[in-house]
């Protein structure tokens, strides 16, 4: 019999269960507390006949004497089939929309398995999000993991929704100076909420409903008042669903994970209860490795048609990018989109701080055939000029605008126009990459010709006048 009433200690979300036999590491456990509450759990450590179990749904209502633990002989799984599309699940993958149980094609461990690096296919299909600050400067490609670093009160939800709504892949173009047409393809959105408010979750559900994307969406919701430790399982549920849709059903899947900060806090809670030696700011030393097992599940696999693109959202405590959560995330993901409170205060949407933002996969995603031959150079030039503009502005704060050289004045004017015309756009405004590049040319045309060191002569000759319209 694999059922025990031998709980010895209960500490936070953890139970120590004695006199167990044949228990394995990672095994799934069903817990039943004296007040009738049930919780799933898994084995974090097994030492002789003592198992340490983490209860995903908390330990409220349990006591050592009458808690019943049943070891299930398998790990935490998700049953998958095409029918998960259009459905809402709780943080542990159980239907939460009143609909029927899923009759699974197969049950998969939510922990997945690492993609063999040799089997990866390099992500190089440009995704047109229609947002200039992303497409022009820090473009997203299919199979990338590109998080949004945000803060409380910033419009990360609007931006993520806009990306989900507008994203399209372009056909390969035969002409170096022309981007291809938008392609239709089989896509899906997998949305995982970890600890966010009902209101935020509702914003997304409505968004998916109004755009009719709900039929192609799978939602896993663990909200602020749901059990915290459950959040450790939620993103893995979502990614297991995404892997099924991408690699078995050949779909292009966009995964939105929000908010990774609450995920990490749940992990910290468990680690503290285990009395582990903490790394920075109380977070466990293995936070990097743990996050990697989530983020690295994005990608493309050779010989399979589908892909998984991840846009995790995390709120930076105190807007501090060096906090362990954004820091370790940035070390794993393929770039980051950083939202800036000052831009937001000045009313610029999307308030993307383009300089510290980065897309590491852009080199391979843009250029002739994919977007346009001048894309990389224009993007480099915009970065350089905007950085010079920001520097000149700082100088002007101390010395006054009048003390600036003519070149610096040109850069200041450029930076203002750049924020106002290039970065700023509407939540429902969709710009094609050609429109974004035209805007870029119009802006760099304001600069002295000698300062355009990052654009090849031939492109200046070819695009400057026609695109900038002078």
């Amino acid at each position: 019999m694999r059922e025990y009433r031998t709980t010895r200690d209960i500490v936070g979300p953890l139970l120590l269960i004695e006199k167990v036999v044949d228990v394995t590491y990672g095994e799934l456990v069903e817990l039943e507390y004296p007040d009738g509450t049930r919780s799933l759990g898994n084995v974090l450590e097994i030492d002789g006949d003592v198992a340490l179990v983490q209860a995903f749904e908390g330990t409220r209502g349990s006591n050592p004497k009458d808690t019943k633990a049943t070891f299930l002989g398998r790990s935490l799984e998700l049953g998958v089939s095409r029918d998960i599309l259009g459905r809402v699940f709780d943080g542990l993958g159980r239907p939460a929309d009143g609909g029927p149980e899923i009759i699974p094609d197969e049950r998969r461990s939510i922990y997945g398995a690492p993609i063999n690096p040799v089997a990866r296919d390099f992500p190089d299909d440009f995704i047109q999000t229609g947002v200039s600050a992303i497409d022009g400067l820090n473009p997203l490609v299919r199979g990338q993991k590109l998080p949004i670093f945000s803060g409380s009160g910033l419009p990360h939800n609007e931006l993520a929704a806009q990306i989900a709504r507008q994203s399209a892949v372009l056909a390969r173009s035969g002409a170096a100076d022309q981007a291809g047409e938008k392609l239709e393809g089989e896509f899906a959105v997998v949305f995982a909420a970890m600890g966010i408010t009902f209101e935020d979750a509702d914003f997304f559900t409505n968004e998916f409903r109004t755009t009719a994307a709900i039929e192609r969406t799978v939602l896993f919701l663990n909200l602020a008042d749901d059990p915290a430790v459950e959040r450790i399982a939620t993103p893995r549920m979502a990614l297991t669903a995404a892997e099924y849709l991408a690699y078995t059903c050949d779909m292009h899947v966009l995964v939105i994970l929000t908010d990774m900060t609450y995920y990490c806090e749940a992990l910290r809670e468990v680690s503290a209860a285990r009395k582990e030696v903490p790394g920075r700011r109380g977070y466990p030393g293995y936070l990097y490795t743990d996050l990697a097992t989530i983020y690295e599940r994005a990608g493309r696999v050779k010989g399979r048609a589908g892909s998984i693109t991840q846009v995790p959202i995390l709120s930076m405590p105190d807007d501090d990018k060096t906090h362990p959560i954004p820091d370790l995330t940035g070390y794993i993901t393929e770039g980051q989109i950083i939202l800036d409170r000052n831009l937001h205060r000045r009313g610029v949407y999307p308030p993307i701080a383009v300089l510290p933002s980065l897309s590491r996969l852009k080199q391979k995603g843009i250029g002739p055939g994919k977007t346009r031959e001048d894309h990389a150079d224009v993007s480099n030039q915009l970065f350089g000029a905007y950085a010079s503009g920001i520097q000149a502005k700082e100088l002007a704060v101390i010395l006054g605008e009048a003390a600036l050289s003519d070149t610096d004045k040109a850069f200041v004017a450029f930076a203002d126009a750049f924020e106002d015309q290039f970065i700023r756009q509407g939540t429902h405004e969709e710009r094609s990459v050609a429109e974004t590049l035209a805007l870029g040319w119009k802006l760099v045309a304001q600069l002295p010709r000698t300062e355009l060191k990052r654009i090849r002569d031939e492109y200046v000759a070819k695009y400057m006048s026609s695109e900038a319209g002078d």
């Binding site: 590491y25 990866r120 293995y286 990097y288």
Partner: protein
């Protein structure tokens, strides 16, 4: 072999009882699937084992089988162009066996057992040989000749030796030692990864390792056999810099260890290197490359082992007499793997939870770099058997970019070159974002004679001048921030412009532009001297009465800005730029027409 059983499982750490004959660092097979593990602590009859695969599903009572041998790598033909995980399992073979995802319990030998290599003996029967002597060669691919060595501990007389096509385990020669023992020699050797391979002695390394990256080669050079680190926050350019060095440095063999980093970065190398042409050999870069890929989502214990696997393979090529470059990206992930295992062992933590032996382990790893006199008999008339070198370049990923953290600090104690990446430079897209004010190389004096002989006798002086201009710029920038550019003398304003030119026209180097990613030392010298020539002529012109505005508006400046994109066969352009500088920077007020016509020449 003895068998014990599991009594405890905690993540990557398993404790077993009943392994009394085994030794520290012995390899064991854990559970029904025979997962690879290594004994890292022994207390009484309890052995703690770090397991190189996920431990889900293991539990008390599961068997643990001793192998009696330490974790080792297989060394021989077939390593080049391969991709291994942290414990030398060939990832392409695993893909064929198990598909796109890494499943547990699969395994394959590091070297292909079936493949035949053409062995060409280079000694006759009857020759007396000792450890490290070359007994024959295999042309492993068009680029690298694989030299088959007598294993380090053996010496004696070659009794028989045969050329022909053999697998790595076939006997190609027999050796009779002085006690009369007969040893079969195959092309494959096995070596425990945690033990450095022996050499005769270390020698001073002074020959520059040319990387093609201007800020490195000119300002902060590394030598063949040197040690360098690249610390920097995420996105500052560690990986791109390391890839550049793997691509363009003048080494004979490159070992690249992706240690706990991104899967796609490995894919990138795998897709790019076979296409890129090595400027020295004219062949695909992959032919001289060995990859070790243990990405962040692969088992953490195998990540810990990956740096040892990599450096042991590097040592083996060094022993053949090659200059090897070994790169580890990132050493911080290795240190974190140590921290994780140490935490599970419940060891007393040091700074930030890292084990107290962090510094010792890092130092011992970097100490395996260097230029050495290889083992082997010294041929008549020569003074050494041969020399080989390993240059080790490790990236460091400090939390929050904070350089005071333990991994950076312990690394700085042992490395001689510090390439400090700065996030502010990266934000401006000034790449490589190597901070010229805080970086350093302790090899500059050592390489100077080589520069004088191979580049030009003035190269060192030019480098020093450029460096001091940049340092002066930093001081002057302080003044400009407080009181404005006007406060500077005309000479100082010229210096500020030159400094900007050095930064933008020389230091900035785009790794993704074919016409910019690689600069030979000769090109670096010409480019720098052109910028400094402009500086000198600008000062002269100003002294002779030219206005600053005219000087700064000289059309030749645009040519200087684009000079870095010149192809190697366009070096003559530099002469024409120099003559433009001479004609455009002249004393006195010039009529507008003169400026225009000078500009029109190009």
């Amino acid at each position: 072999m003895e068998q014990g059983h599991i009594i405890k499982v905690a993540g990557p750490l398993v404790v077993a009882r009943g392994l009394v004959e085994s030794k520290m660092y012995d390899l064991v097979r854990v559970g029904e699937d025979g997962l690879m593990g290594e004994i890292i602590e022994m207390r009484g009859d309890r052995a703690s084992i770090q397991v190189y695969e996920e431990t889900d599903g293991l539990g008390p009572g599961d068997p643990v089988v001793a192998t009696g041998a330490p974790l080792s790598v297989e060394l021989g033909p077939g390593m080049l162009e391969a991709v291994y995980d942290g414990v030398q399992r060939p990832l392409d073979v695993l893909e064929r066996q198990a598909g796109s995802f890494l499943s547990r319990g699969i395994s394959a030998p590091g070297l292909d057992r079936e493949k035949r290599w053409t062995f060409v003996p280079s000694v006759e029967p009857g020759t007396r040989v000792s450890g490290g002597d070359i007994i024959g060669v295999v042309q492993e691919n068009v680029v690298v000749e694989h030299r088959i060595l007598v294993p380090p501990a053996l010496s004696g007389v070659i009794e028989s030796i045969t050329g022909g096509d053999f697998t790595v385990r076939d006997t190609v020669a027999t050796l009779v030692d002085d006690e009369g023992g007969v040893h079969d020699l195959a092309m494959m050797q096995v070596w425990p990864v945690r033990v450095p391979r022996p050499y005769k002695k270390k020698v001073s390394a002074d020959e520059p390792l040319t990387t093609g990256t201007r800020v490195i080669d000119t300002f902060f050079p590394i030598v063949k056999g040197g040690v360098a680190c690249i610390p920097g926050p995420f996105g500052a350019g560690k990986t791109v810099t390391q890839h550049q060095i793997a691509k363009w440095s003048d080494a004979e063999v490159v070992v690249f260890i992706g240690c706990g980093e991104r899967g796609n970065e490995m894919t990138d190398v795998l897709m790019e290197f076979p296409e890129l042409v090595d400027p020295y050999s004219g062949e695909p870069l992959m032919k001289r490359t060995v990859l070790v890929a243990n990405t962040s989502n692969m088992p953490v214990a195998a990540r810990e082992a990956s740096v040892y696997t990599g450096i042991t393979m590097a040592e083996y090529f060094r022993d053949m007499g090659y200059n090897v470059v070994l790169q580890a990206d990132s050493t911080s992930r290795w240190a974190e793997a140590m921290r994780e295992i140490s935490g599970r062992l419940e060891e007393m933590p040091g700074d930030e939870g890292f084990p107290a032996y962090l510094g010792t382990r890092l130092a011992a790893f970097y100490e395996r770099a260097g230029k050495v006199e290889c083992l082997g008999s010294v041929p008549a008339g020569a003074s050494v058997a041969r020399t080989g070198s390993i240059s080790v370049i490790g990236s460091v990923s400090p939390p929050g970019g904070d350089l005071s953290e333990p991994v950076v600090q312990n690394t700085l104690r042992v490395v001689k070159v510090f390439w400090a990446l700065q996030d502010q430079l990266a934000y401006q897209r000034h790449f490589p974002a190597i901070d010229w004010l805080t970086s350093y190389s302790l090899y500059v004096d050592k390489v100077t004679p080589h520069w004088a002989a191979d580049v030009s006798k003035d190269f060192r002086a030019r480098r020093d001048e450029a460096m001091s201009i940049l340092q002066r710029e930093n001081e002057l920038a302080e003044i400009v921030r407080l009181v404005g550019l006007e406060a500077l003398s005309p000479e100082e304003q010229i210096l500020m412009e030159t400094a900007k030119s050095i930064r933008e026209d020389f230091l900035q180097q785009n790794a993704f532009r074919d016409d910019d990613q690689f600069s030979s030392l000769a090109e670096q010298d010409r480019l720098l001297s052109t910028i400094l020539l402009f500086h000198a002529k600008a000062l002269e012109a100003h002294a002779a009465g030219a206005s600053l505005a005219d000087i700064f508006a000289a059309p030749v400046r645009e040519r200087i800005a684009r000079a870095k994109y010149l192809a190697p066969d366009q070096m003559a352009e530099y002469d024409s730029i120099a003559s433009d500088i001479e004609t455009q920077l002249v004393g006195g007020a010039r009529p507008e027409a003169a400026v225009a016509s000078a500009g029109g020449e190009r």
